[in-house]
Amino acid sequence: MTEAIGLTVSDLHAWYGDSKALHGMNFEVRRGEIVTLLGRNGAGKTSTLRAIMGLIRKQTGAIHFGSQNISGRLPEAIAKYGIAYCPEERGIFASLTVAENLVLPPILGKGGMTLHEIYGLFPNLLDRRASPGTRLSGGEQQMLAIARILRTGATLLLLDEPTEGLAPLIVKQIGAVLRSLKDRGLTVLLVEQNFRFASRIADRHYVVENGRVIDTLAAADVADGTDRIEKYLKV
């Protein structure tokens, strides 16, 4: 039973100091799925990822991963359940080389990729492994940010706008990477504003507005629902 259920977020509220960011998020990501959170700037997508990861300390509600309620745990404890987070700003460390960035997150579980596999997936990183992390191009930095959480054996990846500000060719490449991760059985919760990109790879879409989910769209309904979604995302 619990095998099918990956992540279940129920009635999640979260605050930054006095200002409330999440007003009762409800959604689920089943094991092996790619699910996106769509929505405008400030809708609460990033806050949702940060709350799941334990980076927003002031929160109520339940976040079940498998059979465990991880809400309120510390980030370092949540990582040990096999959840990994790739922030929107990518978080490449300037004082570390590409290779050091890549091996920075410790291996916490079985089933992670080997360095060899990772370099196979991202050949650019192999060429540039000795340069300082922030000397990479935006696209390469994004690759590195994703690559370094693949070694750890995490089973759920939280990716925050991996395609933001990248050239179409790189976006395509990242799409291919995500599909190959899905083939390996990884679960991905993706925050996106680029619906065209999301619609090609995700199993399900949740539309977020004002800190709660206001609509759901399965991949099968994308063709009919595109207008509806675009209305939500229109500024």
Partner: protein
């Protein structure tokens, strides 16, 4: 050739050896400070006290049977100490991090600095109470006695051991941090601690261990220092400011820079002792000033953005507490009544220190610059005023103005050097510059070192009013204070003051609006120094003495403490803080050497529990009350409307 310039090789190599030994200790200490600063963004002022703990720990272990007679404890020698004491000091450090230091990570650097200054005063004060100022001797371990003749000099084995062991430890630590996985965690955690936590690394624990390690290095240096220097409660205090200068020279946060600069500066200090002994105490600070001019980031420093998060009191506009005209009148009236109830001397002390704190607050509270060297301006003016009045026979007003003029000039120079950096760097630079002034006064003939300038005549004001009459002096001080207080109020509420506040809030934005913020900072710094000088000169006339204490860094710390207790960035805060501090000092005067302990405790408690200060807290309370009233009156208005609805529905 050496003989030609009148220096014997024995003297030269002897001083070079001493310089190298000092350099090893500088390197070990600055390494710890650099690691703690780099990883935790804390300027660990308590590092000197922790070094002292290491030396005392070594001495304790040897004295165990004497200290605890009847327990049958063995006397543990040097090698035992080398194994046990650094660990012990590291555990003490971990406890300090857990109890105190982690509470200020997210706050402005001022709090970290004040907290560690307070802890240092607390620890050193306690040891001073127990052991007094006299040093304890600690013999060189038997296995390292003796030495070797090198032809040109005699090299004791113990010193050789210190050099070799110190260098191995320094470069080993550097290698671990630069080249290993643990080091990469540390470097990454410095950049983005939250993200590193999401990788499953317990960053808070890692920071605690880092702090403990840095402190342990200080403890180890203390053990190694015990047979060379005197083991005394002051040993850390005298080295810590030099260490901060070394770290600035090496480049803040650069571990390699700290090690190399430490060694190099020790040697340079040794050479200076040979060729120009008068400058040996200040040479490091002069090098620091030069390095700042040529390479503001230090010799090995990378450009780091010191994020400056101001956490000052939110002052409501229109609050009575900020109404300068009202308080100017209130203080004038209160000041006139005061001498009928209390000794004028107490009032004069409060007024001098209040003016000093107000001057400091102008810079720290309104421009957000964490200066830590205002003792230089206060003390310089005190000395010049005292000298002009006592030796040259100037009238008091002329002596005071001369003092202010010198303080202004010193302030303009120090400001010009210091405003190149921000945040904690700024604090360390101002501190180091102030130390130059301090060491100058220790050595210069006209300042009479330990004695200071005593018996300063108060003279006749404008040739008419005899200031030797206490009440006349009191009213003169009151007038000068009101002038300074009013001037600061005017400055803060002028367009110039608005720009200063905008620099405090967001310097980048002020620059983008077209203000050359450095010029504004320079002017503010100079005005602040001039007013601090006014306070110092007054103090010299009131107490008829200028002494080294006026120039010592504890005076700078007092300015910061008064401002913080009262409320940073508030109009009245520094005045209230001065009243509190002077009253505490008066009450504690009978406690003797406990005063430093209590003062240290006040620093710590203030940082932990009273960050907004008395005035800031009061301001918040008043603001909250106003808000509650506004909401209540709003609720009353809205309540009335539905009531009508209800009644109409019911009927």
């Amino acid at each position: 050739m050496m003989e030609l310039i009148g220096i014997s090789p024995a003297l030269l190599f002897g001083q070079l050896l001493i310089g190298l030994i000092n350099g090893v200790f500088y390197a070990m200490m600055s390494l710890g400070v650099a690691i703690i600063f780099g990883m935790l963004r804390i300027g660990n002022f308590v590092h000197g006290a922790q070094y002292m703990l290491g030396a005392f720990g070594t001495w304790f272990l040897l004295q165990l049977p004497l200290l605890f007679p009847g327990l049958g404890l063995p006397s543990l020698g040097y090698w035992w100490a080398l194994a046990i004491v650094p660990l012990g000091v590291a555990v003490v450090g971990a406890a300090m991090e857990w109890l105190f230091i982690r509470r200020v990570y997210d706050l402005d650097h001022a709090y970290g600095l004040l907290l560690t200054v307070g802890l240092a005063m607390l620890i050193e004060g306690l040891f001073n109470v127990r052991f007094g100022a006299a040093g304890q001797q600690y013999g060189v371990p038997e296995s390292l006695q003796g030495g070797m003749r090198l032809g040109f000099m005699f090299l004791p084995y113990y010193r050789l051991w210190v050099i070799v062991a110190g260098l191995v430890i320094c470069f080993g630590t550097w290698r671990v941090i630069e080249r290993t996985r643990l080091g990469s965690y540390l470097r990454a955690a410095t950049e983005n601690p939250d993200l590193v936590r999401t990788f499953g690394i317990n960053v808070p624990r890692m920071l605690m261990l880092t702090y403990a390690f840095g402190v342990g290095l200080a403890g180890l240096a203390g053990v190694m220092a015990a047979p060379i220097y005197q083991v005394s409660p002051q040993m850390g205090q005298s080295i810590i400011v030099t260490i901060f200068a070394v770290v600035v020279i090496g480049g803040m946060g650069s571990i390699f820079g700290a090690i190399v600069s430490g060694l190099m500066l020790g040697l340079i200090e040794g050479l200076t002792k040979v060729f120009y002994p008068q400058a040996s105490t200040t040479v490091i600070f002069i090098i620091m000033a030069t390095v700042l001019l040529l390479r503001p980031n230090g010799l090995f420093g990378k450009e780091t953005v010191a994020h400056h998060v101001a956490d000052f009191s939110t002052v409501r506009t229109g609050s009575l507490l900020e109404n300068g005209r009202f308080w100017l009148a209130a203080i004038a009236i209160g000041g006139m009544i005061f001498p009928f109830f209390f000794y004028p001397l107490l009032g004069m002390k409060i007024l001098c220190l209040a003016l000093f704190a107000c001057a400091y607050n102008l810079l720290f509270g309104y421009v957000g610059l964490l200066a830590f060297g205002h003792a230089a301006f206060f003390g310089a003016s005190a000395y010049v005023t005292a000298h002009c009045a006592a030796v040259w026979g100037f009238a008091p007003e002329a002596a005071l103005l001369s003092g202010v003029a010198v303080a202004t000039a010193v302030g303009a120079l120090f400001g010009w050097l210091a405003i190149r950096r921000q945040g904690l760097y700024f604090a360390m630079i101002t501190l180091a510059l102030a130390q130059i002034a301090y060491f100058y006064a220790v050595q210069a003939p006209w300042t009479h070192s330990e004695d200071g300038i005593q018996g300063v005549p108060r003279g006749k004001l404008l040739g008419l009013i005899d200031l030797d009459v206490s009440i006349n002096m009191y009213f003169f001080v009151l007038c000068v204070f009101l002038f300074g207080f009013g001037l600061i109020y005017r400055i803060v509420h002028s367009p110039f003051g608005q720009v200063l506040k905008s620099i405090r809030e967001n310097e980048q934005r002020a620059i983008s609006l077209g203000y050359s913020t450095n010029q504004f900072k320079q002017v503010a710094f100079t005005i602040s120094a001039a007013l601090a000088g006014l306070a110092g000169g007054l103090k010299a006339l009131v107490f008829q003495i200028a002494s080294l204490a006026d120039l010592f860094f504890t005076t700078s710390a007092d300015a910061l403490l008064m401002t913080l207790i009262g409320g940073v960035g508030t109009l009245l805060g520094p005045v209230v803080g001065a009243v509190i501090v002077v009253l505490i000092q008066k009450e504690l005067a009978t406690l003797g050497s406990w005063v430093v302990v209590v003062q240290g405790a006040a620093f710590v408690l203030c940082v932990l529990f009273l960050r907004k200060g008395v005035v800031g807290t009061l301001e918040d309370y008043l603001g909250a009350r106003e808000e509650r009233r506004r909401l209540a009156s709003l609720a009353r208005i809205t309540e009335k409307t539905p009531k009508h609805d209800d009644s109409s529905r019911n009927s």
